[in-house]
Symmetry: D3
Subunit: 229 residues, 6 copies
Amino acid sequence: MAKTRDKTRTKTRDRARKAKTIAEKRKDPTKRSPAASARAAHDDKEVMALKLKPAPLSSAMADLFKLCEEKLGFVPNVFKAFSFDMAKLEGFVGYRNSVMQGESGLSKVEQEMIATAVSTQNRCYYCVTSHGSAVRGLSGDPILGEQIATNYRAADLDKRQRAMLDFAVKLTVEPWTVEESDREGLRKVGFSDRDIWDIAAIAGFFNMTNRITSAIDMRPNSQYHAMGR
Amino acid sequence: MAKTRDKTRTKTRDRARKAKTIAEKRKDPTKRSPAASARAAHDDKEVMALKLKPAPLSSAMADLFKLCEEKLGFVPNVFKAFSFDMAKLEGFVGYRNSVMQGESGLSKVEQEMIATAVSTQNRCYYCVTSHGSAVRGLSGDPILGEQIATNYRAADLDKRQRAMLDFAVKLTVEPWTVEESDREGLRKVGFSDRDIWDIAAIAGFFNMTNRITSAIDMRPNSQYHAMGR
Amino acid sequence: MAKTRDKTRTKTRDRARKAKTIAEKRKDPTKRSPAASARAAHDDKEVMALKLKPAPLSSAMADLFKLCEEKLGFVPNVFKAFSFDMAKLEGFVGYRNSVMQGESGLSKVEQEMIATAVSTQNRCYYCVTSHGSAVRGLSGDPILGEQIATNYRAADLDKRQRAMLDFAVKLTVEPWTVEESDREGLRKVGFSDRDIWDIAAIAGFFNMTNRITSAIDMRPNSQYHAMGR
Amino acid sequence: MAKTRDKTRTKTRDRARKAKTIAEKRKDPTKRSPAASARAAHDDKEVMALKLKPAPLSSAMADLFKLCEEKLGFVPNVFKAFSFDMAKLEGFVGYRNSVMQGESGLSKVEQEMIATAVSTQNRCYYCVTSHGSAVRGLSGDPILGEQIATNYRAADLDKRQRAMLDFAVKLTVEPWTVEESDREGLRKVGFSDRDIWDIAAIAGFFNMTNRITSAIDMRPNSQYHAMGR
Amino acid sequence: MAKTRDKTRTKTRDRARKAKTIAEKRKDPTKRSPAASARAAHDDKEVMALKLKPAPLSSAMADLFKLCEEKLGFVPNVFKAFSFDMAKLEGFVGYRNSVMQGESGLSKVEQEMIATAVSTQNRCYYCVTSHGSAVRGLSGDPILGEQIATNYRAADLDKRQRAMLDFAVKLTVEPWTVEESDREGLRKVGFSDRDIWDIAAIAGFFNMTNRITSAIDMRPNSQYHAMGR
Amino acid sequence: MAKTRDKTRTKTRDRARKAKTIAEKRKDPTKRSPAASARAAHDDKEVMALKLKPAPLSSAMADLFKLCEEKLGFVPNVFKAFSFDMAKLEGFVGYRNSVMQGESGLSKVEQEMIATAVSTQNRCYYCVTSHGSAVRGLSGDPILGEQIATNYRAADLDKRQRAMLDFAVKLTVEPWTVEESDREGLRKVGFSDRDIWDIAAIAGFFNMTNRITSAIDMRPNSQYHAMGR
């Protein structure tokens, strides 16, 4: 498959290499250049590097896909990737919902900030793209999204959010060194034990998805790039 | 809470420090020394470092706990830890089952080898203990379990299993460097794309649980230590 | 100064934390939310964390600043940061021009791809922002810019550009391991010794600026974020 | 030699792969499964990956080997590995005794805890196996042994032992960063300068043996696995 | 070219391998052994691994080269390496002078200590050699030079110089973690914001040159080795 | 003690800081500057950071010390450091001799190259100083000594010596990844299994001494710095 993909994009690249001076400013930002269109089309069509045939959607999953189309305008590729096996897709969606959609002392933006900071640490293209867009969208602040997606230490966060991301990133890089003093640090800036669970669960969740998407080269839907700008 | 735990074990430690010569061989291996008993009792009672009150078990989860008692003799602490919120427990159990219990080209031992190698890389006490015991039990070979739990490169594996663990550990350490050539490496030793999914999904899953358990200091049930020896 | 900055932004953050559901889509993307406006205003005004008084611009530097205003609409903060000392500003600008603006076998996009990949490796907020925008603008392909700014391995590059970025990133991470075989690798995909100089010089240059900007918390002009989208 | 080893164990592995359900509990833990027997036999017979012919034992070394047989039931493979040259074996044994058997402010268990924590950091199969068994045996607490052999931070240690292992592991990972403040940290929890010497000497010693055994693939005698359980 | 170099030195190496006992002390330290002479001749003649033809020197650069010959007795190879393009050489020299030769609150020795500590961290043969010699020469203390060139933590520095090198090395290893607290640390030991700029600029500069010289295998002039001893 | 040392050297440092221009060339290289003299005197007098009282020398050790004085002009501080306990000193000397002085397929220079390359990797001031001097002395080539003490990859080594140092340094950095293929690599360039033992034993030995000397801040005798130049 890799070869097929190479062929499809040869022209794209050739064009890109010819661009030697500052590109004339595109007048209409919603119109993509041919290079960008080709790249976007690829990511939207080839969901991942594994050839796994989609199974028929269960009725619950058909409902989910329909909802995505209505609310986002597209079905996130992560759902499409899992759809070769309904049990796996439903298991994943159920767990994700329990991690990201229950009651929480963390705001939605904070949850997405953890997702993005962890994914940036792991240099995960799919997750930085999709969750970076969520930080931009939920905060109404595209610059905050860029900062978390590059180096969260460059963002001007309050002590609480900073401690939250420091914990999540330490847990990502050296989980074996996390100890009571780290939990105490979170409690001192106001997090409850219940909140600590959520920080751990979200950081853990994206350490998982980062690895699955990297392992199979899952491609983010091209729409994410423009969302929340 | 940390302080309470410290007090409870002071005597244990004092005794341990006095032991200056090779301990007289314990005649009956099923009888633990007082030091070991205290340590085991702790791990079996204090499930994690967060104070979260268990919720009433849903009927499905009550069935699961009963089944665990019957088959293992105990309920794994990971289930107890999640039981402060039935939605989270059910979400976790459902996803875990979809990852670890469906049809797979990987044998059960191989799945547990991935779990253990990933957890060893992350130096996760809970998961090395519980899944190392599974490798011992499923393979009938305690030495194999020890090898995977120390350095899988020390085990005498065939090319297929070795490539599988190399991939899982690379994905654990530097997920951002995993590429088509790594997937090709797996295909060359006989793994299908469907198998690659499972390797990725299992490696990802334990990169998640390793971090959750480290974040909250989840303690492995003491029974795991003796299983499969 | 740090304290002053903290006070200025408290309101911004409070607002961000309240956002608990998906933000209503902003109708006009050119209008920033109040949170974003505050953040952008800060970056555009407080150039860096060091208090150094700008010196009067020399006539050459005044010309440069005027040119920037005309072509970009703003003077890049890196120039403002150096402007406390005309000798240092002129030294920097002169060297930068000799590295980035002479004749080269590398296209402009390729030069900016090196700048961005190196800066991403070093998680440098200023340089990823400014040079990521250049990749987007020069290639006419915003997705390519995002890919290089997250993990260049996720971009679909030809062998030549891939080898170029592999070399630049290896040189960034472990310069002491770069050897003749690495140079041979570049020659094999078509780079001349003169090209290798440029790859080395550009990768070296951004390893320098990444560290200067991180050391002094240099803030990227807010306009970069929207350029080339 | 590597090939010969591969052939010998092919059957073992094939059997292991077939095990698809939880192994029926072995009734008699002293009876190994065929897989385990084959693996154990290998480690007990092939001491290392280098082909070096044993020299005739000097009388002192013959006494040592006899003593080992009497007290342990076997001669540790590390002694067999060195026995191709009596001067080297005697030099090693003499130094080891001076490090591990003299008067010390550290208890025997503490010495073995350092040995195990260092060896775990270096993921050394031989040394984790043999010294992990010593921690189990000397403390009478198999769980403590498992904790040190996985992640010493998971063990409930007093401040003194914790500082001791923190120092030993820092010295293992980044010796160049150890400074007066680290020594002061040991003094504060009660260690004398003489104790600090011992901690350093033991940590240093196992950083050596870890590397020798990894370099030559020294195999631990199979008996270690069952000791102290 | 690499092959040519190999052939030239074969004899040198053969001789070196024969040296089996402590070399008779050379009576006259200014006379090099044949092995050393061959090695020195190589480094003085083959400036780098890239084949780039020197351009005619501009009059300013001819003056610089003449000055070097007069003051040092040789033209540093770094200048020779850049001399294939006068614009690049002049750009480099101009920037270097602005970084290293302007007014500064740092003494010359301190500037060279930063250069050497950074280059040692990056294991850069050219820069450790040339700037280590400068530390020796400027301080009149060869031992200090050796210490900085091996591990600056081994030198007995005052708090100010120690903080300066800690900052420079942290900036070298993990620039993304440098923050306000690090700058505050420098201010506390007496550095002004202007001094912090210089520390950052010098550390940045050598992170650049280290990478350029490693990328092209730039060889230090042999004279550096003896200077300041 | 640390404080006492600080006081003793204050003047030294103050003087060093005043040196603001290139030091006038010292006419007689054998005469040290006052700064250098103070530094050297310290290292020669204060052997280590631990206060351990020397024990009376056994007759064998008295002979060794006398021999050192005769052949080197001084007793290496490593021997003085161990001399608080004759059993430990004799154990160390005996083992060292068995590693470094027996028959070997490695030349003396090669043995010292391993010692120096390993010590440089570990940034060990004592060992780089003492063994770097041995490489200079034994090879008659001070430049080779500098190269190994900075980055052995910068030295122009033959394939055999290069493979030897690659193995030793890999064993130093990531011993857990060393495998049969690494040993095969050594065999391919001509090393016997007996030679591999020596490479492993020497690399292991210096991984030990590097850590002991770092742990106790052992200072190299000042004479080493001038030897073999």
